[in-house]
């Protein structure tokens, strides 16, 4: 036997949070999905969207959706508006302190609506 844990095949639940145009290009919004605060970012002008925790572990405030979106060496990231640590939008990892990693969430744009799964 090798390490084969059964893959959870339950159907993913998607929550519609807002129309895409509510998220201005290269900014974020915060959505409340099943009591969890999720920061959703739109990178560029198109439908490239990412979702990570809205919680900033450094300031302990729920503010990441209000950070500046950008990239470091090509990795899309957001900078906390409070003390400016950067978080990868792909992995949720803090790029300035690799011991810290935020949750990431599946997110997609369907018929112009942004949907998140938590």
């Amino acid at each position: 036997m090798s390490q084969t844990e059964s893959i959870n095949s339950t159907i993913q639940q998607w929550t519609t949070i807002c129309p895409l145009e509510r998220i201005l290009p290269n900014t974020g919004v915060c959505a409340l999905v099943k009591d969890r605060q999720i920061a959703v970012f739109r990178v560029g002008e198109g439908t490239d969207v990412y979702a990570i925790d809205n919680y900033d572990p450094f300031s302990k405030a729920y503010v990441l959706s209000r950070g500046i979106v950008g990239d470091r060496n090509g990795i899309p990231k957001v900078a906390s508006p409070i003390y400016k640590q950067n978080f990868s939008l792909i992995t949720g990892e803090c790029l300035d302190d690799l011991t810290i990693r935020l949750g990431t969430f599946p997110v997609q744009v369907v018929d112009g609506q942004v949907k998140v799964s938590s």
């Binding site: 036997m1 090798s2 390490q3 084969t4 959505a31 729920y62 899309p76 409070i82 302190d97 990693r101």
Partner: protein
């Protein structure tokens, strides 16, 4: 045929061992038994589970690591016997596997004291994720929890119970907390700090019985001194015992008090069997920390791959932890057991800190110590001890608060290359420096991922950062003046590109002159340049994503994510009617009010959704934005001047108001401030401002490039006895020249200090127009003044811009995390420790 290596235990050390084997590309068939229902996770950070981390977050195993490296892991299957004669292992699920070599990494188990009732429903231990899941489920309807054991783990466990919302007590058999690591005085300081957090501490208590309620569940504890403690649940954290059951059963050599005996090669009494981690006993010592276990894993892996390079020679048990937010560190000979050693201790009851150094007889070498309440010097002390470096003539300076002017910190340059910087992962200074040089590492993130330093407890990160800085400096990697990785230009160069090429958006500039998507450094800087150049509204759609949160919500963010509101009060003059409006608005929205140092009024604690409602009221009453959030003009402070003051020679208030209204909203490389005094007595402190004006009998003196703050600097006289028109013209030129030529976030004082030619040069440019740009500068300023609009007024009129002033995009609810408490009759945000006391979830 490939030989087979079986590992028993897939904990932190067992996994590290397999990683090492994979990394060395060993020619072994690797099989591992893993008793727990999941592969290795970060037990050191187990408590993070209660702080919201999931089992996945804690996992130490990279996805597919075992599959990719062909390692068979039998998850949820415990090895139950070893047959050394036939060289086989049998598991609980009935699998029997033969081995060529065997590695025991079975860790340890929690010791539960033999007390009557120690197995009642409601009693738990604190070792595995399963333990935590069970504790969490049970405590859902509990109010009180007791931790038995006041050691390291017990205190961490108490923190966890408190996070679960229980009124928490710690019961310790010994007369003080953390008896193993710290002495009586340190224990007392720690106790005081923990009691301040609302945790009950009961030391010197021997439990005789745990009594059940009518449902047979934990109800109370009885102590030998006749006292009792009511509780709903009990977690035992009274020490660990090496898990040596299998080794005993197959007849390996075991220590008197348990533990599988190993030698320098991590071999047991049977050369085909190795033992590593907490189950192993070396020199009659068990190592209850992960770093020594990792060292053993390396040594065993080396041996099995045929290398003799590396021996296990024991390990340092120094620790630094944050327990319940309190720093505690203990290192080396903490109790002064070395013959002739001397102790220097500072017990600061006011600061709540206790610091102790143990030094050798002649006071030249550090042997050990204890730090409670503040362990910032731990890294330095540990290095001094480990490298046996000479102590400074007054070793007490190492633990005293720094006296002004004397810097005690030891530079990283003084450390030898062999100095171990990261004890978790055994990384030396030499290795870190080599990696920085060879792999051209430039930021702390890549130093960590390339060297592994700082990837354990994180305690060494400040030292690693210092090393990086020192190395870069040494290599002469003079931080070039490029603003960031996205633009190979300085701010000044970008400014002239924007103006000369008529660039009006960040995207345009990025397309023509930059790469990537930008970041939190270049975006606000370019936005400020665009504002200085064209004065477009900062919340226009093409600019909004460039702004720091302060600019993008036109208010200053505070530590809890709320904002402060500072309306403009030009010159500090305000009517009673307006004062009443401010008071009424603050009252209606529950805001905290304070007078700032800049003669205006700060209303703090506004939620993002309240900002437009507040500003609607303020704008209606005739207020406008004070730009306290922007890199822009703050305020022009004034004294009452000749209108009232018996010494005044000019009307300082009128001039201050005029100047403030002229430059309000002007964006610059940094914020800038001004003041006007009505006579030479200088009550408005104008000489500490970016530009200050002082009245004379004949007109006005103009001072520039002063600064308060961290590095105060007096402003210097640019021109004297000016009439008002000339004064304003000079200020126009001065400010625009600064905006053109300063670096990002460079105040006028710093800018001036770098200006070649100093004041004479500046006077030549401003007064004599030596560069022939005076007219241009004035025209640029005229454009700014003519196009000013209050940002709040503009925003309130635009429903699309207002949409962003909402915490959640999908509900009108405010941020539930914002909680205030009353202090001196006003609201202020809670502090973290109060959240725990108030039992607020996050």
């Amino acid at each position: 045929m490939t030989k087979r290596l079986v590992t028993i235990g897939n904990g932190m050390v067992g996994h590290r061992f397999l990683e090492q084997m994979a990394a060395k590309g060993a020619d072994w068939e690797l099989i591992c038994f893993c008793e727990e229902p999941r592969v290795a996770y970060d037990r050191v950070n187990l408590s993070g589970y209660f702080a919201g981390k999931t089992a996945e977050d804690l996992s130490l195993v990279a996805p597919d690591f075992y599959k990719d490296n062909n390692i068979q892991v039998h998850i949820g299957d415990k090895a139950i016997s070893i047959d050394r004669a036939n060289k086989t292992v049998t598991s609980a699920k009935g699998v029997t596997i033969s081995y060529d070599k065997l590695v025991l990494a079975t860790g340890s188990y929690p010791f539960v004291p033999p007390i009557k009732g120690n197995d009642l429903p409601g009693t738990f231990v604190y070792r595995t994720i399963c333990d935590l899941e069970a504790t969490e489920a049970y405590t859902k309807d509990c109010k009180v929890g007791v931790v038995v054991g006041g050691g390291l783990l017990g205190l961490e466990c108490a923190n966890a119970l408190q996070n679960l919302g229980l009124k928490t007590h710690v019961v310790e058999f010994m007369p003080r907390l953390m008896p193993v690591q710290i002495d009586d005085a340190g224990g007392a300081t720690l106790r005081q700090k923990i009691e301040d957090l609302g945790i009950g501490i009961h030391t010197g208590k021997s439990t005789t019985e745990i009594v059940a309620d009518e449902h047979g569940r934990v109800h109370k504890m009885q102590f030998a001194d006749g006292t009792e403690l009511l509780t709903d649940t009990i977690v035992f954290s009274a020490g660990i015992r090496p898990q040596d059951e299998l080794a005993r059963q197959c007849g390996l050599k075991i220590g008197d008090r348990g533990g599988i005996s190993i030698d320098d090669n991590c071999q047991t009494s049977d050369p085909d069997v190795y033992a590593i981690g907490e189950c192993a006993l070396y020199n009659n010592q068990i190592f209850g920390l992960v770093a020594p276990g990792y060292r053993m894993a390396e040594v065993a892996a080396d041996r099995l791959c045929g290398s003799e390079a590396n021996n296990f020679t024991g390990a340092d048990m120094s620790t630094k932890l944050k327990l319940l937010g309190i720093d505690v560190a203990s290192f080396g000979d903490a109790f002064g057991k070395t013959a002739g050693s001397k102790v220097i201790a500072i017990d600061d009851a006011i600061a709540g800190t206790y610091k102790k150094l143990v030094v050798n007889q002649d006071g030249t070498r550090l042997l050990g110590g204890i730090l409670v309440g503040d362990a910032t010097v731990y890294g330095t002390l540990l290095q001094l001890m480990q490298n046996q470096m000479a102590l400074p003539p007054h070793p007490e300076d190492l633990i005293l608060p720094p006296r002004s002017g004397v810097s005690m910190a030891m530079g990283v340059e003084q450390l030898p290359d062999t100095a171990q910087i990261c004890s978790c992962n055994n990384v030396t200074k030499g290795q870190i420096c080599a990696a920085i040089q060879d792999q051209e590492l430039r930021d702390i993130g890549s130093v960590k991922s390339c060297t592994n330093a700082g990837m354990g407890c994180g305690g060494c990160v400040p030292l690693v950062t210092d090393l990086l800085k020192a190395e870069l400096k040494k290599a002469g990697i003079a931080v070039n003046n490029h603003i960031c990785e996205h633009f190979a230009f300085s701010r000044q160069e970008l400014y002239s590109l924007v103006r000369s090429q008529d660039i009006h958006s960040f995207q345009q500039l990025l397309d023509r002159h930059g790469t990537g998507r930008g970041c939190e450094i270049c975006k606000p800087a370019v936005s400020s340049i665009l504002a200085s150049a064209w004065n477009d509204q900062i919340l226009d759609p093409s600019h909004v994503s460039l702004q720091d949160t302060n600019d993008s919500f036109l208010a200053n963010i505070q530590r809890d994510g709320t904002y402060s509101v500072i309306p403009r009060i030009p010159g500090g003059e305000i009517t009673p009617e307006k004062l009443i409006v401010l008071g009424q608005v603050a009252k209606d929205f529950g805001l905290y009010t304070k007078i700032t140092g800049a003669q205006r009024i700060d209303l703090l604690g506004a939620r993002v959704d309240q900002l437009p409602l507040i500003w609607q009221r303020l704008v209606a009453a005739g207020f406008e934005s004070g730009h306290a959030y922007g890199k822009a003009l703050r305020t022009v402070k004034s004294c009452v001047g000749s209108t009232w003051c018996r010494f005044g020679v000019q009307d300082s208030v009128s001039l201050a108001i005029e100047v403030e209204l002229r430059y309000r909203g002007l964006r610059a490389p940094h914020k800038f401030k001004s003041a006007v005094s009505g006579c030479t007595r200088e009550c408005a402190e104008a000489q500490s401002k970016d530009f200050g004006i002082i009245a004379t009998e004949k007109g006005w003196n103009l001072y520039v490039c002063g600064n308060g703050g961290m590095k105060p600097q007096h402003a210097q006289l640019l021109a004297a006895d000016l009439d008002k028109e000339t004064l304003i013209r000079y200020v126009d030129r001065f400010l625009m020249f600064y905006i053109r030529t300063a670096n990002r976030l460079e105040r006028t004082a710093t800018w001036f200090n770098k200006l070649e030619g100093g004041m004479e040069y500046l006077q030549a440019v401003i007064i004599n127009d030596s560069l022939g740009i005076a007219e241009e500068l004035e025209a640029e300023m005229a454009h700014q003044v003519a196009t000013y609009a209050c940002e709040w007024d503009v925003t309130l009129k635009d429903p699309v811009k207002l949409q962003r002033f909402q915490h959640f995009v999908n509900t009108d609810a405010p941020d539930p995390n914002i909680v205030v408490v009353a202090e001196r009759g006003q609201n202020r945000p809670v502090f973290e420790h109060e959240r725990q006391l108030l039992q607020i979830d996050r």
